[in-house]
Protein backbone atom coordinates (compact mmCIF):
# COMPACT_ATOMS: atom_id res chain seq x y z
CA UNK A 1 0.00 0.00 0.00
CA UNK A 2 2.91 2.28 0.78
CA UNK A 3 4.22 1.98 -2.76
CA UNK A 4 0.77 2.66 -4.19
CA UNK A 5 0.34 5.69 -1.94
CA UNK A 6 3.55 7.13 -3.32
CA UNK A 7 2.43 6.35 -6.88
CA UNK A 8 -0.17 9.07 -6.72
CA UNK A 9 -0.61 12.05 -4.47
CA UNK A 10 -3.77 12.04 -2.33
CA UNK A 11 -6.79 13.96 -3.67
CA UNK A 12 -10.46 14.38 -2.72
CA UNK A 13 -11.52 14.04 -6.36
CA UNK A 14 -12.97 10.62 -7.18
CA UNK A 15 -12.59 8.53 -10.29
CA UNK A 16 -8.85 8.02 -10.50
CA UNK A 17 -9.03 4.24 -10.68
CA UNK A 18 -11.90 4.24 -13.16
CA UNK A 19 -10.47 6.81 -15.59
CA UNK A 20 -6.84 5.68 -15.47
CA UNK A 21 -7.91 2.04 -15.67
CA UNK A 22 -10.09 2.75 -18.72
CA UNK A 23 -7.36 4.87 -20.34
CA UNK A 24 -4.73 2.16 -19.98
CA UNK A 25 -7.05 -0.67 -21.04
CA UNK A 26 -8.27 1.19 -24.12
CA UNK A 27 -4.73 2.24 -25.04
CA UNK A 28 -3.49 -1.34 -24.67
CA UNK A 29 -6.27 -2.84 -26.79
CA UNK A 30 -6.18 -0.28 -29.60
CA UNK A 31 -2.49 0.65 -29.78
CA UNK A 32 -0.18 -1.49 -27.67
CA UNK A 33 -1.33 -5.04 -28.52
CA UNK A 34 -1.48 -4.42 -32.31
CA UNK A 35 1.97 -2.77 -32.36
CA UNK A 36 3.36 -5.68 -30.33
CA UNK A 37 1.88 -8.05 -32.92
CA UNK A 38 3.75 -6.11 -35.61
CA UNK A 39 7.10 -6.29 -33.85
CA UNK A 40 6.63 -9.99 -33.03
CA UNK A 41 5.80 -10.81 -36.64
CA UNK A 42 8.90 -9.05 -37.96
CA UNK A 43 11.16 -10.77 -35.41
CA UNK A 44 9.60 -14.09 -36.40
CA UNK A 45 11.98 -14.12 -39.37
CA UNK A 46 15.01 -14.35 -37.09
CA UNK A 47 17.99 -12.01 -37.02
CA UNK A 48 19.32 -12.92 -40.47
CA UNK A 49 15.90 -13.05 -42.08
CA UNK A 50 15.02 -9.63 -40.64
CA UNK A 51 18.11 -7.97 -42.07
CA UNK A 52 17.81 -9.77 -45.40
CA UNK A 53 14.30 -8.32 -45.75
CA UNK A 54 15.28 -4.87 -44.43
CA UNK A 55 18.35 -4.55 -46.66
CA UNK A 56 16.61 -5.72 -49.83
CA UNK A 57 17.63 -3.24 -52.59
CA UNK A 58 14.02 -2.30 -53.40
CA UNK A 59 13.28 -1.68 -49.71
CA UNK A 60 16.39 0.46 -49.34
CA UNK A 61 15.51 2.42 -52.49
CA UNK A 62 11.98 3.10 -51.20
CA UNK A 63 13.28 4.19 -47.79
CA UNK A 64 15.79 6.47 -49.50
CA UNK A 65 13.04 8.00 -51.68
CA UNK A 66 10.75 8.51 -48.66
CA UNK A 67 13.38 10.06 -46.41
CA UNK A 68 15.06 12.20 -49.07
CA UNK A 69 11.82 13.71 -50.42
CA UNK A 70 10.52 14.22 -46.85
CA UNK A 71 13.76 15.99 -45.91
CA UNK A 72 13.53 18.36 -48.90
CA UNK A 73 9.83 19.01 -48.30
CA UNK A 74 10.39 19.73 -44.59
CA UNK A 75 13.26 22.07 -45.50
CA UNK A 76 11.08 24.04 -47.92
CA UNK A 77 8.29 24.08 -45.34
CA UNK A 78 10.60 25.51 -42.68
CA UNK A 79 11.47 28.46 -44.93
CA UNK A 80 7.95 29.23 -46.13
CA UNK A 81 6.25 28.12 -42.91
CA UNK A 82 8.36 30.55 -40.87
CA UNK A 83 7.65 33.28 -43.42
CA UNK A 84 3.88 32.60 -43.35
CA UNK A 85 3.81 32.50 -39.53
CA UNK A 86 5.71 35.80 -39.46
CA UNK A 87 3.39 37.46 -41.97
CA UNK A 88 0.24 36.20 -40.19
CA UNK A 89 1.40 37.32 -36.73
CA UNK A 90 3.20 40.60 -37.47
CA UNK A 91 1.39 42.18 -40.40
CA UNK A 92 -2.17 43.32 -40.96
CA UNK A 93 -3.61 42.91 -44.45
CA UNK A 94 -7.02 42.20 -45.99
CA UNK A 95 -8.00 38.53 -45.83
CA UNK A 96 -5.50 37.72 -43.11
CA UNK A 97 -7.98 35.73 -41.02
CA UNK A 98 -9.09 33.67 -44.02
CA UNK A 99 -5.49 32.81 -44.87
CA UNK A 100 -4.86 32.04 -41.21
CA UNK A 101 -7.75 29.57 -41.24
CA UNK A 102 -6.60 28.13 -44.58
CA UNK A 103 -3.29 27.04 -43.06
CA UNK A 104 -5.12 24.13 -41.41
CA UNK A 105 -6.60 22.91 -44.72
CA UNK A 106 -4.10 20.01 -45.03
CA UNK A 107 -5.23 18.78 -41.58
CA UNK A 108 -8.88 18.86 -42.63
CA UNK A 109 -8.72 17.80 -46.29
CA UNK A 110 -8.65 14.00 -46.68
CA UNK A 111 -5.31 12.89 -48.08
CA UNK A 112 -6.82 11.02 -51.04
CA UNK A 113 -8.64 14.20 -52.09
CA UNK A 114 -5.42 16.19 -51.87
CA UNK A 115 -3.67 13.47 -53.85
CA UNK A 116 -5.99 13.47 -56.85
CA UNK A 117 -6.26 17.29 -56.80
CA UNK A 118 -2.48 17.75 -56.84
CA UNK A 119 -2.19 15.19 -59.62
CA UNK A 120 -4.81 17.05 -61.67
CA UNK A 121 -2.84 20.28 -61.25
CA UNK A 122 0.66 18.96 -61.92
CA UNK A 123 -0.02 16.27 -64.54
CA UNK A 124 1.45 17.15 -67.99
CA UNK A 125 -2.01 18.34 -69.16
CA UNK A 126 -2.89 19.94 -65.82
CA UNK A 127 -3.29 23.56 -64.76
CA UNK A 128 0.37 24.03 -63.82
CA UNK A 129 1.80 20.96 -65.55
CA UNK A 130 0.96 22.22 -69.07
CA UNK A 131 3.18 25.28 -68.52
CA UNK A 132 6.24 23.41 -67.29
CA UNK A 133 5.91 20.43 -69.67
CA UNK A 134 7.27 22.38 -72.72
CA UNK A 135 10.33 23.26 -70.59
CA UNK A 136 11.04 19.54 -70.33
CA UNK A 137 10.10 19.53 -66.63
CA UNK A 138 7.90 16.74 -65.36
CA UNK A 139 6.41 17.18 -61.89
CA UNK A 140 3.71 14.53 -61.55
CA UNK A 141 4.90 10.90 -61.57
CA UNK A 142 8.44 11.91 -60.43
CA UNK A 143 10.06 12.51 -57.02
CA UNK A 144 9.31 16.23 -57.53
CA UNK A 145 5.60 15.39 -57.38
CA UNK A 146 6.16 13.40 -54.17
CA UNK A 147 7.92 16.42 -52.67
CA UNK A 148 5.05 18.73 -53.61
CA UNK A 149 2.50 16.45 -51.92
CA UNK A 150 4.71 16.33 -48.83
CA UNK A 151 5.00 20.12 -48.78
CA UNK A 152 1.20 20.30 -48.83
CA UNK A 153 0.66 17.99 -45.86
CA UNK A 154 3.60 19.29 -43.80
CA UNK A 155 3.07 23.05 -44.02
CA UNK A 156 0.61 23.48 -41.10
CA UNK A 157 2.94 21.67 -38.68
CA UNK A 158 5.62 24.33 -39.17
CA UNK A 159 3.28 27.34 -39.18
CA UNK A 160 1.25 26.20 -36.16
CA UNK A 161 4.36 25.42 -34.10
CA UNK A 162 6.01 28.79 -34.73
CA UNK A 163 2.90 31.00 -34.61
CA UNK A 164 2.16 30.85 -30.84
CA UNK A 165 5.82 31.47 -29.96
CA UNK A 166 5.94 34.48 -32.26
CA UNK A 167 2.71 35.83 -30.74
CA UNK A 168 4.19 35.59 -27.25
CA UNK A 169 7.58 37.06 -28.16
CA UNK A 170 7.69 40.48 -26.53
CA UNK A 171 8.36 43.52 -28.66
CA UNK A 172 10.50 44.97 -25.84
CA UNK A 173 13.42 42.69 -26.59
CA UNK A 174 13.43 43.94 -30.17
CA UNK A 175 13.15 47.53 -28.98
CA UNK A 176 16.09 47.02 -26.64
CA UNK A 177 18.12 45.56 -29.47
CA UNK A 178 17.26 48.52 -31.72
CA UNK A 179 18.08 50.98 -28.93
CA UNK A 180 21.49 49.41 -28.57
CA UNK A 181 22.17 50.20 -32.22
CA UNK A 182 21.38 46.94 -33.98
CA UNK A 183 20.00 47.19 -37.49
CA UNK A 184 16.65 45.50 -38.18
CA UNK A 185 18.39 42.61 -39.91
CA UNK A 186 20.74 42.14 -36.95
CA UNK A 187 17.82 42.17 -34.53
CA UNK A 188 16.00 39.53 -36.55
CA UNK A 189 18.99 37.26 -37.11
CA UNK A 190 20.61 37.57 -33.66
CA UNK A 191 17.68 38.22 -31.32
CA UNK A 192 14.48 36.89 -32.85
CA UNK A 193 15.67 33.84 -34.78
CA UNK A 194 17.60 32.23 -31.89
CA UNK A 195 14.50 32.34 -29.69
CA UNK A 196 12.45 30.81 -32.52
CA UNK A 197 14.98 28.05 -33.20
CA UNK A 198 13.41 25.40 -30.91
CA UNK A 199 9.98 25.99 -32.47
CA UNK A 200 11.45 25.87 -35.98
CA UNK A 201 13.28 22.61 -35.20
CA UNK A 202 10.14 21.08 -33.68
CA UNK A 203 8.09 22.15 -36.70
CA UNK A 204 10.70 20.68 -39.02
CA UNK A 205 10.71 17.37 -37.13
CA UNK A 206 6.89 17.17 -37.09
CA UNK A 207 6.59 17.99 -40.81
CA UNK A 208 9.36 15.52 -41.62
CA UNK A 209 7.83 12.72 -39.54
CA UNK A 210 4.44 13.25 -41.15
CA UNK A 211 5.90 13.36 -44.67
CA UNK A 212 7.88 10.14 -44.23
CA UNK A 213 4.76 8.18 -43.30
CA UNK A 214 2.40 9.92 -45.73
CA UNK A 215 0.53 7.68 -48.15
CA UNK A 216 -2.78 9.03 -49.48
CA UNK A 217 -1.68 12.33 -50.95
CA UNK A 218 1.56 10.90 -52.37
CA UNK A 219 0.60 7.70 -54.20
CA UNK A 220 -1.53 9.40 -56.87
CA UNK A 221 1.12 11.91 -57.90
CA UNK A 222 4.16 9.65 -57.35
CA UNK A 223 3.88 7.39 -60.38
CA UNK A 224 5.12 4.58 -58.11
CA UNK A 225 8.01 3.36 -60.27
CA UNK A 226 10.16 0.91 -58.26
CA UNK A 227 13.63 2.30 -57.41
CA UNK A 228 12.60 5.78 -58.65
CA UNK A 229 9.37 7.07 -57.16
CA UNK A 230 8.18 4.30 -54.87
CA UNK A 231 7.74 5.36 -51.24
CA UNK A 232 8.21 3.01 -48.29
CA UNK A 233 4.54 3.02 -47.13
CA UNK A 234 3.49 1.96 -50.65
CA UNK A 235 5.99 -0.90 -50.59
CA UNK A 236 4.36 -2.08 -47.34
CA UNK A 237 1.01 -2.17 -49.15
CA UNK A 238 2.56 -4.03 -52.10
CA UNK A 239 4.12 -6.62 -49.75
CA UNK A 240 0.70 -7.09 -48.12
CA UNK A 241 -0.93 -7.63 -51.50
CA UNK A 242 1.70 -10.31 -52.19
CA UNK A 243 0.68 -11.88 -48.83
CA UNK A 244 4.30 -11.35 -47.71
CA UNK A 245 3.16 -10.29 -44.22
CA UNK A 246 6.60 -10.73 -42.65
CA UNK A 247 8.20 -8.57 -45.35
CA UNK A 248 5.61 -5.83 -44.74
CA UNK A 249 6.18 -6.08 -40.99
CA UNK A 250 9.95 -5.65 -41.40
CA UNK A 251 9.61 -2.40 -43.41
CA UNK A 252 7.05 -1.15 -40.90
CA UNK A 253 9.32 -1.98 -37.96
CA UNK A 254 12.23 -0.08 -39.53
CA UNK A 255 9.96 2.92 -40.16
CA UNK A 256 8.51 2.72 -36.64
CA UNK A 257 11.98 2.61 -35.08
CA UNK A 258 12.92 5.73 -37.02
CA UNK A 259 9.72 7.58 -36.07
CA UNK A 260 10.19 6.72 -32.38
CA UNK A 261 13.68 8.15 -32.68
CA UNK A 262 12.14 11.30 -34.19
CA UNK A 263 9.61 11.51 -31.35
CA UNK A 264 12.46 11.19 -28.86
CA UNK A 265 14.38 13.97 -30.60
CA UNK A 266 11.30 16.23 -30.59
CA UNK A 267 10.91 15.66 -26.84
CA UNK A 268 14.61 16.47 -26.33
CA UNK A 269 14.27 19.72 -28.30
CA UNK A 270 11.24 20.72 -26.23
CA UNK A 271 12.93 19.87 -22.92
CA UNK A 272 15.99 21.85 -24.01
CA UNK A 273 13.83 24.77 -25.12
CA UNK A 274 11.97 24.79 -21.77
CA UNK A 275 15.30 24.99 -19.92
CA UNK A 276 16.78 27.57 -22.27
CA UNK A 277 13.79 29.79 -23.04
CA UNK A 278 11.20 28.87 -20.44
CA UNK A 279 8.61 27.50 -22.83
CA UNK A 280 7.89 24.26 -24.63
CA UNK A 281 6.81 24.60 -28.20
Amino acid sequence: MKGFGRFRQPSVIPGFGLTLGFTITYFSLIILVPITALVLRSTGLGWNGFWAAALDPRVLASLRTSFLTALIAAGINVVFGTLIAWVLVRYRFPGRRIFDAMVDLPFALPTAVAGIALTAIYAPNGFVGQWVAPLGLRIAYTPIGITIAMIFIGLPFVVRTIQPILEEASKEVEEASATLGASRLQTISRVLLPSLTPAILTGFALAFARAVGEYGSVIFIAGNIPFVSEIAPLLIVIRLEEFNYAGAAVIATVMLAISFLMLFVINLIQAWSRRRYGYGS
Partner: protein
Protein backbone atom coordinates in the same frame (compact mmCIF):
# COMPACT_ATOMS: atom_id res chain seq x y z
CA UNK B 1 13.62 68.61 -45.37
CA UNK B 2 15.84 66.18 -47.21
CA UNK B 3 16.05 64.10 -44.05
CA UNK B 4 12.31 63.51 -43.88
CA UNK B 5 11.93 60.31 -45.89
CA UNK B 6 14.87 58.91 -43.97
CA UNK B 7 13.27 59.91 -40.67
CA UNK B 8 9.97 58.35 -41.72
CA UNK B 9 11.67 55.08 -42.47
CA UNK B 10 13.43 55.06 -39.13
CA UNK B 11 10.32 56.11 -37.24
CA UNK B 12 9.65 52.55 -36.13
CA UNK B 13 12.88 50.69 -35.45
CA UNK B 14 11.00 47.47 -34.72
CA UNK B 15 9.27 47.26 -38.06
CA UNK B 16 10.41 46.51 -41.56
CA UNK B 17 10.23 49.04 -44.40
CA UNK B 18 6.88 49.02 -46.17
CA UNK B 19 8.20 47.41 -49.36
CA UNK B 20 9.78 44.58 -47.37
CA UNK B 21 6.51 44.01 -45.54
CA UNK B 22 4.51 43.78 -48.75
CA UNK B 23 7.11 41.59 -50.43
CA UNK B 24 6.95 39.13 -47.52
CA UNK B 25 3.14 39.18 -47.47
CA UNK B 26 3.07 38.57 -51.20
CA UNK B 27 5.58 35.69 -51.00
CA UNK B 28 3.58 34.03 -48.20
CA UNK B 29 0.24 34.44 -49.95
CA UNK B 30 1.52 33.22 -53.33
CA UNK B 31 2.96 30.12 -51.65
CA UNK B 32 -0.35 29.46 -49.87
CA UNK B 33 -2.36 30.10 -53.03
CA UNK B 34 -0.20 27.67 -54.99
CA UNK B 35 -0.07 24.89 -52.41
CA UNK B 36 -3.37 25.22 -50.52
CA UNK B 37 -5.98 27.17 -52.49
CA UNK B 38 -5.20 25.77 -55.93
CA UNK B 39 -5.75 22.08 -54.96
CA UNK B 40 -9.04 23.00 -53.32
CA UNK B 41 -10.23 24.84 -56.44
CA UNK B 42 -9.05 21.95 -58.62
CA UNK B 43 -11.36 19.53 -56.76
CA UNK B 44 -14.46 21.59 -57.51
CA UNK B 45 -13.53 22.55 -61.07
CA UNK B 46 -12.80 18.90 -61.98
CA UNK B 47 -16.02 17.77 -60.29
CA UNK B 48 -18.11 20.26 -62.28
CA UNK B 49 -16.19 19.85 -65.54
CA UNK B 50 -19.07 17.99 -67.23
CA UNK B 51 -21.78 20.17 -65.79
CA UNK B 52 -23.93 20.12 -62.72
CA UNK B 53 -26.16 17.36 -64.07
CA UNK B 54 -23.32 14.85 -64.37
CA UNK B 55 -22.11 15.95 -60.95
CA UNK B 56 -25.43 15.28 -59.22
CA UNK B 57 -25.94 12.07 -61.14
CA UNK B 58 -22.56 10.64 -60.19
CA UNK B 59 -23.27 11.33 -56.54
CA UNK B 60 -26.42 9.22 -56.77
CA UNK B 61 -24.71 6.10 -58.06
CA UNK B 62 -25.14 3.07 -55.75
CA UNK B 63 -21.37 2.91 -55.15
CA UNK B 64 -21.18 6.54 -54.07
CA UNK B 65 -24.24 6.24 -51.83
CA UNK B 66 -23.03 3.10 -50.08
CA UNK B 67 -19.60 4.72 -49.55
CA UNK B 68 -21.26 7.76 -47.96
CA UNK B 69 -23.33 5.49 -45.70
CA UNK B 70 -20.30 3.48 -44.58
CA UNK B 71 -18.23 6.60 -43.87
CA UNK B 72 -21.03 8.04 -41.70
CA UNK B 73 -21.39 4.71 -39.87
CA UNK B 74 -17.66 4.37 -39.18
CA UNK B 75 -17.38 7.94 -37.88
CA UNK B 76 -20.51 7.43 -35.74
CA UNK B 77 -18.79 4.53 -33.95
CA UNK B 78 -15.18 5.71 -33.84
CA UNK B 79 -15.69 9.32 -32.74
CA UNK B 80 -17.86 8.63 -29.62
CA UNK B 81 -15.44 5.93 -28.46
CA UNK B 82 -12.52 8.33 -28.72
CA UNK B 83 -14.56 11.01 -26.94
CA UNK B 84 -15.10 8.67 -23.96
CA UNK B 85 -11.40 7.82 -24.01
CA UNK B 86 -10.39 11.48 -24.30
CA UNK B 87 -12.52 12.50 -21.32
CA UNK B 88 -11.31 9.58 -19.18
CA UNK B 89 -7.66 10.17 -20.05
CA UNK B 90 -7.78 13.92 -19.44
CA UNK B 91 -9.64 13.41 -16.14
CA UNK B 92 -6.97 11.02 -14.89
CA UNK B 93 -4.09 13.16 -16.18
CA UNK B 94 -5.35 16.65 -15.33
CA UNK B 95 -7.03 16.05 -11.98
CA UNK B 96 -4.40 13.83 -10.36
CA UNK B 97 -0.66 13.75 -9.78
CA UNK B 98 0.90 10.35 -10.37
CA UNK B 99 4.16 8.81 -11.51
CA UNK B 100 4.70 8.28 -15.22
CA UNK B 101 2.21 10.98 -16.24
CA UNK B 102 4.52 12.66 -18.76
CA UNK B 103 5.23 9.26 -20.29
CA UNK B 104 1.50 8.53 -20.60
CA UNK B 105 0.94 11.85 -22.41
CA UNK B 106 3.71 10.97 -24.87
CA UNK B 107 2.15 7.54 -25.43
CA UNK B 108 -1.25 9.05 -26.24
CA UNK B 109 0.36 11.06 -29.06
CA UNK B 110 1.97 7.92 -30.46
CA UNK B 111 -0.54 7.29 -33.31
CA UNK B 112 0.36 10.70 -34.80
CA UNK B 113 3.92 9.58 -35.42
CA UNK B 114 2.92 6.26 -36.99
CA UNK B 115 2.39 6.08 -40.75
CA UNK B 116 -1.30 5.51 -41.57
CA UNK B 117 -0.32 2.44 -43.57
CA UNK B 118 1.33 0.96 -40.47
CA UNK B 119 -1.78 1.79 -38.43
CA UNK B 120 -3.72 -0.48 -40.76
CA UNK B 121 -0.98 -3.08 -41.06
CA UNK B 122 -0.91 -3.78 -37.32
CA UNK B 123 -4.53 -5.00 -37.48
CA UNK B 124 -3.84 -7.11 -40.57
CA UNK B 125 -1.06 -8.83 -38.61
CA UNK B 126 -3.25 -9.17 -35.52
CA UNK B 127 -6.34 -10.60 -37.27
CA UNK B 128 -5.11 -11.82 -40.67
CA UNK B 129 -4.17 -15.30 -41.84
CA UNK B 130 -1.28 -16.70 -39.82
CA UNK B 131 -2.37 -14.83 -36.69
CA UNK B 132 -3.80 -16.48 -33.59
CA UNK B 133 -6.83 -14.24 -33.14
CA UNK B 134 -8.18 -14.10 -36.71
CA UNK B 135 -8.93 -17.80 -37.32
CA UNK B 136 -10.23 -18.19 -33.74
CA UNK B 137 -12.75 -15.36 -34.19
CA UNK B 138 -13.64 -16.69 -37.62
CA UNK B 139 -14.62 -20.04 -36.07
CA UNK B 140 -17.31 -18.07 -34.21
CA UNK B 141 -18.36 -16.32 -37.43
CA UNK B 142 -16.79 -12.97 -36.51
CA UNK B 143 -15.01 -11.20 -39.37
CA UNK B 144 -12.72 -8.33 -38.44
CA UNK B 145 -10.47 -7.92 -41.45
CA UNK B 146 -11.88 -6.88 -44.85
CA UNK B 147 -15.10 -6.03 -42.98
CA UNK B 148 -16.58 -3.08 -41.13
CA UNK B 149 -15.05 -3.88 -37.67
CA UNK B 150 -11.52 -3.68 -39.12
CA UNK B 151 -12.28 -0.32 -40.74
CA UNK B 152 -13.65 0.98 -37.42
CA UNK B 153 -10.56 -0.25 -35.52
CA UNK B 154 -8.13 1.35 -37.99
CA UNK B 155 -10.11 4.61 -37.83
CA UNK B 156 -10.03 4.58 -34.01
CA UNK B 157 -6.26 4.05 -34.15
CA UNK B 158 -5.54 7.07 -36.36
CA UNK B 159 -7.99 9.39 -34.58
CA UNK B 160 -7.03 8.16 -31.10
CA UNK B 161 -5.25 11.31 -29.77
CA UNK B 162 -7.47 14.10 -31.14
CA UNK B 163 -9.95 14.60 -28.27
CA UNK B 164 -7.48 13.74 -25.49
CA UNK B 165 -4.77 16.12 -26.63
CA UNK B 166 -7.24 19.01 -26.79
CA UNK B 167 -8.76 18.26 -23.36
CA UNK B 168 -5.59 17.44 -21.38
CA UNK B 169 -3.97 20.91 -21.52
CA UNK B 170 -7.37 22.59 -21.14
CA UNK B 171 -8.26 20.66 -17.97
CA UNK B 172 -4.72 21.08 -16.63
CA UNK B 173 -5.14 24.85 -16.99
CA UNK B 174 -8.50 24.79 -15.22
CA UNK B 175 -7.11 22.93 -12.22
CA UNK B 176 -9.21 21.15 -9.61
CA UNK B 177 -10.72 24.10 -7.69
CA UNK B 178 -14.21 23.93 -9.21
CA UNK B 179 -14.48 20.19 -8.66
CA UNK B 180 -13.25 20.44 -5.06
CA UNK B 181 -15.82 23.14 -4.36
CA UNK B 182 -18.63 21.03 -5.82
CA UNK B 183 -17.55 17.94 -3.87
CA UNK B 184 -17.28 19.87 -0.61
CA UNK B 185 -20.83 21.13 -1.15
CA UNK B 186 -22.00 17.53 -1.25
CA UNK B 187 -22.16 16.74 -4.98
CA UNK B 188 -21.38 13.17 -5.98
CA UNK B 189 -18.53 12.40 -8.37
CA UNK B 190 -20.84 12.00 -11.37
CA UNK B 191 -22.82 15.12 -10.48
CA UNK B 192 -19.55 17.04 -10.32
CA UNK B 193 -18.58 15.76 -13.74
CA UNK B 194 -21.91 16.44 -15.48
CA UNK B 195 -22.67 19.81 -13.87
CA UNK B 196 -19.23 21.34 -13.28
CA UNK B 197 -16.51 19.78 -15.39
CA UNK B 198 -18.45 19.15 -18.60
CA UNK B 199 -19.79 22.73 -18.90
CA UNK B 200 -16.23 23.96 -18.33
CA UNK B 201 -14.78 21.90 -21.16
CA UNK B 202 -17.68 21.87 -23.63
CA UNK B 203 -16.09 24.11 -26.28
CA UNK B 204 -12.75 22.36 -26.05
CA UNK B 205 -14.56 19.04 -26.36
CA UNK B 206 -16.44 20.24 -29.46
CA UNK B 207 -13.14 21.43 -30.94
CA UNK B 208 -11.57 18.02 -30.40
CA UNK B 209 -14.64 16.25 -31.83
CA UNK B 210 -14.51 18.41 -34.98
CA UNK B 211 -10.89 17.50 -35.71
CA UNK B 212 -11.45 13.85 -34.76
CA UNK B 213 -14.46 13.61 -37.06
CA UNK B 214 -12.72 15.24 -40.01
CA UNK B 215 -9.89 12.73 -39.78
CA UNK B 216 -12.23 9.79 -39.17
CA UNK B 217 -14.27 10.54 -42.30
CA UNK B 218 -11.23 11.31 -44.43
CA UNK B 219 -8.78 8.59 -43.39
CA UNK B 220 -7.36 6.76 -46.37
CA UNK B 221 -4.10 4.86 -45.77
CA UNK B 222 -5.03 2.92 -42.64
CA UNK B 223 -8.49 2.07 -43.94
CA UNK B 224 -7.18 1.09 -47.40
CA UNK B 225 -5.00 -1.60 -45.83
CA UNK B 226 -7.74 -3.27 -43.74
CA UNK B 227 -10.76 -2.80 -45.98
CA UNK B 228 -10.12 -5.27 -48.79
CA UNK B 229 -12.02 -2.76 -50.97
CA UNK B 230 -15.12 -4.88 -51.58
CA UNK B 231 -17.40 -2.77 -53.76
CA UNK B 232 -20.53 -1.56 -52.00
CA UNK B 233 -19.51 -3.23 -48.74
CA UNK B 234 -16.16 -2.06 -47.39
CA UNK B 235 -15.39 1.06 -49.41
CA UNK B 236 -15.51 4.30 -47.47
CA UNK B 237 -15.71 7.63 -49.32
CA UNK B 238 -11.93 8.16 -49.70
CA UNK B 239 -11.52 4.56 -50.91
CA UNK B 240 -14.36 4.98 -53.39
CA UNK B 241 -12.68 8.16 -54.65
CA UNK B 242 -9.54 6.12 -55.34
CA UNK B 243 -11.54 3.36 -57.10
CA UNK B 244 -13.37 5.82 -59.36
CA UNK B 245 -10.09 7.59 -60.08
CA UNK B 246 -8.26 4.39 -61.01
CA UNK B 247 -11.18 3.42 -63.28
CA UNK B 248 -10.82 6.77 -65.11
CA UNK B 249 -14.22 7.94 -63.87
CA UNK B 250 -12.85 11.44 -63.26
CA UNK B 251 -16.15 13.19 -62.66
CA UNK B 252 -17.38 10.55 -60.22
CA UNK B 253 -14.06 10.61 -58.33
CA UNK B 254 -13.92 14.38 -58.04
CA UNK B 255 -17.64 14.67 -57.27
CA UNK B 256 -17.28 12.38 -54.26
CA UNK B 257 -14.01 14.14 -53.39
CA UNK B 258 -15.82 17.48 -53.47
CA UNK B 259 -18.14 16.27 -50.68
CA UNK B 260 -15.07 15.49 -48.58
CA UNK B 261 -13.59 18.88 -49.49
CA UNK B 262 -16.84 20.53 -48.36
CA UNK B 263 -16.59 18.63 -45.08
CA UNK B 264 -13.04 19.98 -44.71
CA UNK B 265 -14.23 23.54 -45.38
CA UNK B 266 -17.11 23.24 -42.89
CA UNK B 267 -14.64 21.86 -40.32
CA UNK B 268 -12.28 24.79 -40.89
CA UNK B 269 -15.08 27.37 -40.62
CA UNK B 270 -16.45 25.87 -37.37
CA UNK B 271 -12.95 25.50 -35.97
CA UNK B 272 -12.08 29.13 -36.72
CA UNK B 273 -15.43 30.27 -35.31
CA UNK B 274 -14.69 28.39 -32.08
CA UNK B 275 -11.22 29.92 -31.92
CA UNK B 276 -12.52 33.47 -32.39
CA UNK B 277 -15.59 33.19 -30.19
CA UNK B 278 -14.37 30.92 -27.39
CA UNK B 279 -10.58 31.20 -27.77
CA UNK B 280 -10.03 31.56 -24.03
CA UNK B 281 -12.11 28.46 -23.31
CA UNK B 282 -9.93 26.32 -25.55
CA UNK B 283 -6.55 24.89 -24.64
CA UNK B 284 -3.70 27.38 -24.86
CA UNK B 285 -1.96 24.96 -27.17
CA UNK B 286 -5.16 24.17 -29.05
CA UNK B 287 -3.93 25.69 -32.27
CA UNK B 288 -1.11 23.23 -32.89
CA UNK B 289 -1.39 19.56 -33.65
Amino acid sequence: MAARPHAARRASPTNEPLWVRWALILAGLVFMALFLVLPLLAVFSEALRQGIGAYVQSLQSPDALSAIRLTLLVAAIAVPLNVVFGIAASWAIAKFEFKGKAFLITLIDLPFSVSPVISGLVYVLLFGTGSVLGPWLKSYGIEILFAVPGIVLATIFVTFPFVARELIPLMQDQGTGDEEAALSLGASGWQTFWRVTLPNIKWGLLYGVLLCNARAMGEFGAVAVVSGKIRGQTTTMPLQVEMFYNEYQGTAAFALASLLALLALVTLVLKSALEWRFGDELAATGRGH
